[in-house]
């Protein structure tokens, strides 16, 4: 409590009794909210520099491009999870859900032989439907999101196995499909399409979150759901759509991983949800709801993949890698905490 004192003010800013905001103090407040992202970005840069110093191979364009590529799947999952987490919920279904949507892509393209675009759409749609079901469970049946999405995680895992016949579905008949993720559309650049798709998805998510109605309601539901409802907003319906939106990012992740592996792997995905949530939280989004940003999530996802890849490239033995990742995550979040140092006791 006593640490409020550290929020010591600049004495010159005497309050105007009925101001609508002085320009300078407004600037301070905005700067502060940007700081958080700057800080996370700084952690990221520091990590890159450290790994680069230890092993210069880390900084080769090829490796950096690989790191970007390895960010894509967790990154896409994290984009969707950001929305859900800002509402104060949690989404555990993204990992196996991704696996289910990739199977749906497989069914569409390989089993049904439909055109590529239809397959992509099917994947995204499958994700959206899954999100919709999550949303219905959470908002209309009022099942806590942890339970609803945990159940969905199990159901998706089972369905992925059932639908695929417990074996991978390959995309050999759709030769263009693996180009979707791995092709290099921009001549001269070694960065594969998947990375661009991820960044475009991130920009879209960012715009939705900060500039549209559904984004605003995402924040306000997370800030105070009851107050939002009493302000005449149909919280249940919006929440349903927010989960649906989140699900479609999972769907996109399913499409990309299928394209990257040139196969739909029904058994994988478990465990990805924790990584995605970690990326979101490292990016400064609060699990209490109401706060967060897409930029933060992108940085968080990058931190995770830089870490994983960096530890491998500097040949840290595998058993020590997880120890190191754990410690660095703690450090990154702690530095962030230090900066934000506010009066509330963290949960």
């Amino acid at each position: 409590m006593s640490n409020t004192t550290t929020e010591r003010p600049t004495k010159d800013l005497a309050p105007k009794p009925d101001s609508g905001g002085t320009a300078s103090s407004e600037f301070v407040l905005r700067l502060r909210s940007r700081m958080q992202q700057l800080m996370a970005l700084a952690s990221l840069v520091v990590l890159v520099i450290i790994f680069g110093l230890i092993n210069p191979l880390f900084l080769t364009p090829n490796n950096l491009s690989d790191i970007l590529l390895s960010t894509v799947v967790i990154g896409l999952l994290a984009l969707g999870a950001t929305f859900v987490i800002i509402t104060g919920g949690i989404d555990l279904s993204v990992g196996t859900g991704m696996s289910l949507t990739s199977v749906m892509v497989g069914v569409t393209l390989t089993y049904l032989g439909l055109p590529l675009a239809v397959g992509v759409l099917a994947g995204v749609l499958a994700g959206a439907v899954m999100g919709l079901v999550n949303g219905l469970l959470v908002s209309y049946l009022r099942i806590p999101s942890f339970i609803a999405t945990l159940a969905m995680m199990m159901v998706a895992q089972g369905l992925a196995l059932v639908i695929s016949g417990t074996k991978p579905i390959y995309f050999n008949e759709t030769p263009g499909f693996s180009n979707l993720a791995l092709g290099k559309s921009i001549p001269g650049l070694i960065i594969p399409n998947a990375v661009f798709i991820f960044f475009i998805a991130a920009v879209i998510a960012g715009v939705i979150l900060s500039k549209t109605l559904i984004g605003r309601y995402t924040y306000s539901i997370g800030s105070n759901e009851q107050a939002t409802a009493l302000s005449g907003i149909n919280v249940r319906r919006w929440k349903m759509w927010i989960y649906t939106l989140a699900g479609s990012f999972t769907g996109l992740a399913g499409v990309i991983i299928a394209s990257r592996l040139n196969s739909a792997q029904p058994g994988q995905g478990a465990g990805y949800e924790l990584q995605a949530i970690a990326a979101v939280v490292i990016g400064g989004t609060s699990l209490q709801g109401g706060k967060g940003s897409i930029a933060g999530t992108v940085i968080g996802a990058l931190i995770m993949s830089v870490l994983t890849s960096g530890l491998r490239i500097i040949n840290v033995p595998q058993e020590w890698q997880s120890v190191a990742i754990g410690c660095v995550i703690l450090l990154a979040v702690y530095v962030d905490m230090l900066r934000r140092k506010d009066t509330s006791e963290g949960k």
């Binding site: 409590m1 006593s2 409020t4 004192t5 929020e7 010591r8 003010p9 600049t10 004495k11 800013l13 005497a14 309050p15 105007k16 009794p17 009925d18 101001s19 609508g20 905001g21 002085t22 103090s25 407004e26 301070v28 407040l29 905005r30 500039k211 549209t212 109605l213 984004g215 605003r216 309601y217 924040y219 306000s220 800030s223 105070n224 009851q226 107050a227 939002t228 409802a229 009493l230 302000s231 005449g232 907003i233 149909n234 919280v235 249940r236 319906r237 109401g290 706060k291």
Partner: protein, 502 residues
Amino acid sequence: MENLLLEVDGVNKSFPGVRALADMQLTVRHGEVLALVGENGAGKSTLMKLLSGIYAPDSGSFRFDGSNVDITGPKIAQELGISIIHQEFNLMQDLTVAQNIYIGREPMLGPFINDAALNRQASALFEKIGVNLDPAQKVGELTVARQQMVEIAKALSFDAKLLILDEPTAALNDSEVATLHAIIRRFITDETAAIYISHRMDELKAISDRITVIRDGEYVDTLDTEQTTMPEVISRMVGRKVAAQIQMKPVPKLGEVRLSVRDLSTKALLKDVGFDLRRGEILGFAGLMGAGRTEVARAIVGADRISAGTITLDGAGVKISNPATAAELGIGYLSEDRKHLGLMLEADISQNIMLSTLGKLNKFGFMQDKMLNYIAGEQIQRLRIKTPSMHQAAKNLSGGNQQKIVIAKWLVKDCDVLIFDEPTRGIDVGAKEEIYDLLDELAASGKSIIMISSELPEVLRMSHRIAVMSEGRITGFLERHEATQEKIMDLATRSNRGAVSV
């Protein structure tokens, strides 16, 4: 000087962008009740938070009972004998009343908590101070008013020398206020004193010995209650002369019936509630704590499920299943519980004000942020919300200013029927008048208003007609010209006499 329990001298405290206290001073004598008054955001709560160890001062000194003290935490304050009832509740909703009161001081039986003794202790305390609470009930199940009683009981359960009450009566109605005053008087001895913060001027006269006025974080004056008049206090508070007695406007000619409620019942409490609300009418709702006024409002807007009853709007029957439907139909509800049901505390002011109106401010799916900030800025000016910026988080505002945000939220929404539940809770006298004028204006422009209030003078001042509730029923309607405090109290204390129909 002689016989001082507390001396505050030269205290400064600033927050980012806000100078909350500037060279503040204050003295409290043994055996007195000192009232502390000032406009919303004047710095009253901040000063009290310094005294209770929640904030640390930037500079300045505190002398308590003759020695210099450094109050570094709530525990230190407790040990010194300073006990505080905060403006905002600090209760654990999932614990029982007794568990809340004695947290940190549980009677033990070996390694175990002696819950029986705990409840006995609490019962004894309630008996001693004359409040009426069940020690074993979960606090989360209590009404706001009863939660306030828990806070009071908790503060009194310490052997405090100095009792600080920060707007303890904002959630109470007159009879409960009287109870509280009796409790305070019993508390005061030659060894003790109390600081009493309130915006209800009539209370100051009743309870205080001296009145300290502060303005914009600065000390203004201290007056003897006996020798001063309220208009004098108010003029020092706001720094200008205020009209002594506001003229009550005559009841205007009312329009046709807009909202008509019949036989409204809920499983929990309400029984056959029925009334009509006309265009341009302000219908006041009076009643004792728990009478069911809030529940009527919640039932109408669909926040609570109704078990029976019909609602007719502009002649057509409507089915309102949630507050969103109500809002679409043009019915808005301002909750009495701003912290839990009104505000997004972490979000900024403009987001809070614009929450109910966001749906109208998007073009091709994108939010019109310029427009949004413009409207929010207008409201901040109009209600004189004291803040360095519209991007300040709501939690950083003073209580009264927070209440203004909630009001602003419904002013921008432009509903035809507005239900205001305790709209002036925590708002200072000057601003209160402004809000009254605002409500009058709204009514004059053809809006229909239901105003629920526990302050009888306010109900009498504002309402064109008054509905009085008791135990979930409407026990009577009073026209403005016939309404008096006595008649209202009579109706409010009736029980089991059946509902009065419209």
